[in-house]
Symmetry: C2
C-alpha cells in the first residue's frame, strides 16, 4: 500500500506502521494522533468528521480509552486510518487533519497504571551479575527458570524530551566507611523495549502466553535511567528502588503490535526447560527483531539487538499474572536492559564502560564512563515492517541536568518542575 | 466535645476521630462518608445541603480530590463535621444524612496512585533476615542508615473484605532440584500501617521530614499478603514481586493524621546516627503509639506495637522523595510488617510460627503455621485519641479462597473475579 502523504515512503513511519501518540495542535488541547511520515494525523478529529463509531474513546487526550477498547476496535481504527491515508479519494477530507510534527507538541501518550521492569536479557543479567556480585555465579539460580522483575514507579514515567535532574541519594563506595548523601556519581541509562497493556484482566485471572496479542496494544522505547551508586547501596534485599524511581523515559509513539508482524522471530534456544506456563509456542513466536541504537551526545555507541532477549513479551505477561495479579489499561511492562553478546551491543553504560574502567570515546573525542551533566542520550530502534521496508520506532531522548543542592533541599530550578 | 450521635461515645469512632471512607447508600452511588459511632455520615450530601465551598471535591465517589485539596481544606471540612456532629442545633439538618453502617456497602476509599512498601521495623527485619539468610548478619549493612523499601502493585490493592485467592507461582524448596508451579504452600500476612498522600509534589522536588504533616492526609491499616515460598525463590536480586503482588488489603477507613496528635511519641533510640535528611526532630516526633492486633479465625494471636518501628512515617516520606521522585494524591506508602520485640508481637505468621516450626494454637484448638484455605485474618488497631479516649482504626479483614487450578489456567470461580 502506498500513502498519498509525500513524506511517508521510506520514512520508517509509512502506512504499515501508524504508531499512536498524543499531541497538542497549536492553540489546542491534547488529542490522540497517529504518525505518518513527518506529519501527525488528528485521529480524533478525523473520526468525528467521518462519524466513526469509536469517536468517543479518542476524546480523552490520552490513549487509555483506546487501549481499554481491545483488539476489535484497534483493528477497526487501523483499517480506517490505512484507507484514509492510501485512498486518494479521501485526501481532501483527511489533509485538513494533518499537522506537521514540527508544529505540534507531543505529550505523554498514556497514563501509566502500574509499571513493571523485567530483567529478561541474559547478556545484561550476566554482565551485571559479574559487576555487582563478583564472588558469585553471574546469573542467579532462578534466572533461567522465570523472568525476574520488579515494580517501578508509575508516577515518574515521563515522555521523551523531559530533562532528567541528576538524583541525590545515599551511596557508599567499598572504600568508604559511612554512606554519604549527595548527587549520584554513576548515572546510567538502560535501553529497553516496553509493552503497553490494553483491555486488562480481572483479579485472580491468570493470563497465558496466548493472551499476549489480545492484551498488549503495542510497544514503546524506554530509558530506565539508573543511579548505579544509589542502586548498589540500597538493593539488598528488597531490590532496586530510589536508584531507579527518579525518572523513566518513554517514547512519544506507541507502535501497534500488529505492525511488528514481520519482526517476529523465534526466541533464543532454551538451555533449561521452561515450565508449561512459560513454554514457547513454536507456531506463535514472540521474539521481536528490533535493533536499538544508543546515541550519546550524538555518537552512536551501541546497537542492542532485542531479538537476543531470552524471555519474550508473551512470557513476561504470563509471569506478571501467574499469581493472579490483574493488569489494567495503561500498564507498562518493560524488558529490562537489552544487551546483546557483542562489545558494542550493551544497553547500559555500566556494561559499555566495563563498570567505568574502560571509558567510551565519543565522536568529538571526549571520553565518558557514566553520564555527565548536560549529556543527552537518545535511543532509537528499527524493525522489519509488513510493507517490506523498515519501521522506525519513536525515539526516546533526555538530557541530564545538574543535581539540586542537597544542602538546601530545594530545587536548583525553584523547588521542582512540571513534567 | 460530645457528639449527639448516641453510639459515638466510647466507640473508638467518636468525634475526635472522624475517619473518611467511601460508601454506597442503599440504591445509591458511591459517596464520601465519615464514620461516627455505628453510623456513616454522607459528607458530600451534607456539604451540598449546607452549600459548603468544598462540595465539588466530594462528588467523585473517591477520596482522591479531597486528598489533593491539602491541609487547609482538610481542616475546614473536619471543623465543619465536628460542629455538625456536636452542636445539638444542627441535629435536625444532619441526621437525615446519617446511615447505619449495617445498611451500606463500603468501597475502596481512594484510588491508589503508586504503592511503596517499606521495611521499617527492626524486629521484623531482624527476624526475617535470620529466616531467609541464616548464614549472614540478620540486618543488612544498609538497614540502620536508610529505610529500605520497594514498589508494590497499586492495581492489586483491594479494600477490606475482599477475598484473597491463594496465589500460584514458582517455588523451589531447598531439598528440591527443580522449581514447580502450583499453589503457594506458605501463605502469610503482614500487618502494617499505611500512609495516604495528599497534595503531592513535583518531579525533582525533594520533600523533608517537615513536609510530612502537609503531605500526608492520614493512615489506614494494611495487610500485605505474602507467599513466602514464591518470595524466597524469586527475590534475589530484584526483591519481592509475585510473592506480594496478588493482593494487598487496606482498611475502608482513613484516619486523619491530625486525629493522631495525642498518639505521637518519640521513635526508638538511634544506634547509628542518621544522615541529616533523615534526622529526627525531637520537637516534632513522628513515632505513633498505635497498637495493632491480629485475629486468626477469631483468635487474637499478636499485638504488634507500631511505636517500636525504627523509622517514622516522616522519614519514609523523606526517603521516598530523596532522589526527586514526585508523590501524587492517592500514593500509599506502608511501614512494612510491624513487629515488636515480644513473642506475641510479631506482625507475620512466618515470625509467629518460627518459620513454621512452632505452630500457633488457636482458641478452637486448631493449629496453624501458615494460612489454610478458608482462614480469615482481621487486623485491628487502637491509639490514644485527642479526647482522652482511644481511637479504633478501621479494621482490615480478608478470607483465603482455594487456589485456581494451575493445570487449566482458568479461575475456579469462572476465570477471575471483580474487585
Amino acid at each position: 500500500m502506498t500513502s498519498w502523504v509525500p513524506s511517508a515512503a521510506g520514512s520508517g513511519f509509512d502506512v504499515d506502521h501508524l504508531p499512536y501518540g498524543v499531541f497538542v495542535p497549536t492553540g489546542g488541547t491534547p488529542v490522540v494522533g497517529a504518525r505518518i511520515g513527518d506529519q501527525v494525523l488528528d485521529v480524533a478529529a478525523l473520526s468525528w468528521a467521518e462519524t466513526a463509531s469509536w469517536t468517543n474513546i479518542l476524546e480523552a487526550g490520552t490513549l487509555n480509552p483506546l487501549l481499554a477498547a481491545g483488539p476489535a476496535i484497534w483493528s477497526a481504527v487501523r483499517e480506517f486510518l490505512s484507507v484514509a491515508l492510501t485512498d486518494e479519494s479521501w485526501r481532501g477530507r483527511v489533509e485538513r487533519h494533518l499537522h506537521r510534527l514540527a508544529d505540534v507538541q507531543l505529550r505523554m501518550p498514556f497514563q501509566v497504571a502500574d509499571y513493571v521492569d523485567f530483567y529478561a536479557s541474559e547478556h545484561h543479567a550476566t554482565a551485571l551479575g559479574r559487576i555487582f556480585r563478583p564472588d558469585s555465579e553471574p546469573l542467579p539460580a532462578n534466572w533461567k527458570h522465570l523472568p525476574l522483575g520488579y515494580h517501578g514507579r508509575a508516577g515518574t514515567v515521563v515522555p521523551s524530551g523531559t530533562a532528567v535532574v541528576r538524583p541525590c541519594g545515599q551511596h557508599k563506595e567499598s572504600n568508604e566507611q559511612w554512606p554519604v548523601f549527595g548527587p549520584s556519581r554513576r548515572l546510567d541509562v538502560e535501553a529497553e523495549v516496553g509493552f503497553v497493556v490494553g483491555p486488562g484482566s480481572m483479579l485472580s485471572q491468570r493470563l497465558s502466553v496466548d493472551d499476549f496479542a489480545g492484551q498488549v496494544f503495542g510497544v514503546c522505547l524506554v530509558n530506565d535511567w539508573s543511579a548505579r551508586d544509589i542502586q548498589s547501596w540500597e538493593y539488598v534485599p528488597l531490590g532496586p528502588f530510589l536508584g531507579k524511581s527518579f525518572a523513566t523515559s518513554i517514547s512519544h509513539w506507541v507502535t501497534p503490535l500488529v505492525a511488528l508482524a514481520d519482526a517476529r522471530v523465534p526466541p533464543p534456544a532454551r538451555s533449561v526447560p521452561l515450565l508449561p506456563y512459560l513454554a514457547d509456542d513454536p507456531a506463535e513466536p514472540w521474539g521481536l527483531d528490533i535493533v536499538l541504537t544508543i546515541e550519546w551526545n550524538g555518537s552512536v555507541v551501541s546497537h542492542p539487538p532485542f531479538a537476543s532477549t531470552y524471555y519474550t513479551g508473551a512470557q513476561l505477561l504470563a509471569q506478571l499474572t501467574a499469581n493472579g495479579a490483574c493488569v489494567r489499561p495503561g500498564d507498562l511492562f518493560a524488558s529490562g536492559t537489552v544487551s546483546g553478546p557483542g562489545e558494542r551491543q550493551a544497553g547500559s553504560f555500566i556494561e559499555l564502560s566495563h563498570a567505568g574502567r574502560l571509558p567510551v570515546v565519543l565522536n568529538d573525542g571526549t571520553v565518558r564512563n557514566y553520564l555527565q551533566d548536560g549529556d543527552t542520550v537518545t535511543i532509537r530502534a528499527s524493525a522489519p515492517g509488513t510493507g517490506g521496508g523498515h519501521l522506525r520506532l519513536g525515539e526516546v531522548t533526555g538530557t541530564v541536568l545538574p543535581a539540586d543542592d542537597p544542602a538546601t533541599g530545594s530545587g536548583a530550578l525553584g523547588g521542582g518542575r512540571d513534567r
